[in-house]
């Protein structure tokens, strides 16, 4: 554990020098930074960093989106996973989202009670999945 805490401090030390040295934060750096935080069980911090990155209009790599969606799903953060999935869809388009991403988000949404028992069959069309999850999230929120 001490070594892990040390790793985060070392990462922080490196990153804190970027503004001073005028080193721009590029996509691969973002990915490894997030992966480093996740490795050190700092998932909340990784989520906040990812939000900040998106707020600054920096576009992460597709694999970074995949990583964050998977991590949010693993850590039972359905709303965050859903928001990142929607952002990913908006930025990269439907065709870049593998079907398993929709399944991953749907699964965690269902696990956390955001999806009510289905009354209709939904096919694999992602637009329908989106409507299905959004509909259920808003329904559950109103309850």
């Amino acid at each position: 554990m001490a070594a892990e805490v040390g790793d985060v401090l070392m990462q922080d030390e490196i990153v804190s020098t970027f503004p001073q040295d005028k080193v721009p934060l590029i996509q691969p750096m973002i990915h490894y930074l997030l992966e480093g935080l996740i490795k050190n069980h700092e998932v909340d911090r990784a989520i906040l960093l990812f939000r900040d990155i998106r707020a600054r209009k920096i576009q992460p790599r597709n694999r970074t989106y995949h990583l964050m969606i998977t991590i949010c799903a693993q850590n039972l953060e359905p709303e965050e996973a859903f928001n990142i999935l929607m952002d990913f869809k908006q930025v990269c388009g439907d065709s870049h989202i593998p079907e398993r991403m929709w399944w991953t988000v749907l699964h965690v949404c269902a696990q956390e009670g955001f999806v009510l028992p289905p009354r209709l069959y939904v096919d694999a069309d992602s637009r329908q999945w989106e409507r299905y999850i959004v509909g259920n999230i808003s329904r559950v929120s109103k309850m």
Binding site: V23, I26, P28, M29, L33, R63
Partner: protein
């Protein structure tokens, strides 16, 4: 691009009391990342970075990518076989 001679080159530079160029530093970090799949060279990489930065030798973006990557290399070995890492490996 990996330069297998970078360790020797760095040693010669150090013996001559010369600083490496940012590009050489990038190569060194890339090689250190590659040679330490379990993060063995992580502390050494950090010490080199601190020392050279204090002397004004700053790696380029590629060097920083390798440096940050060296910090997470440990996890890949530690968690092999775990369910979520297998998922991650797909990306």
């Amino acid at each position: 691009m990996y330069s297998p001679d970078i360790y020797i080159q760095s040693k010669i530079r150090a013996l001559r009391e010369e600083d490496p160029t940012p590009a050489e530093l990038d190569s060194l970090f890339r090689m250190m990342d590659r040679d330490s799949p379990q993060g063995e060279l992580k502390p050494e990489a950090l010490i080199i970075w601190r020392e050279l930065r204090s002397r004004g030798v700053i790696p380029t973006q590629e060097g920083y990518v390798a440096l940050l990557k060296a910090f997470i290399s440990l996890v890949r070995r530690e968690l092999i076989g775990s369910r979520w890492l297998r998922k991650l490996a797909m990306y």
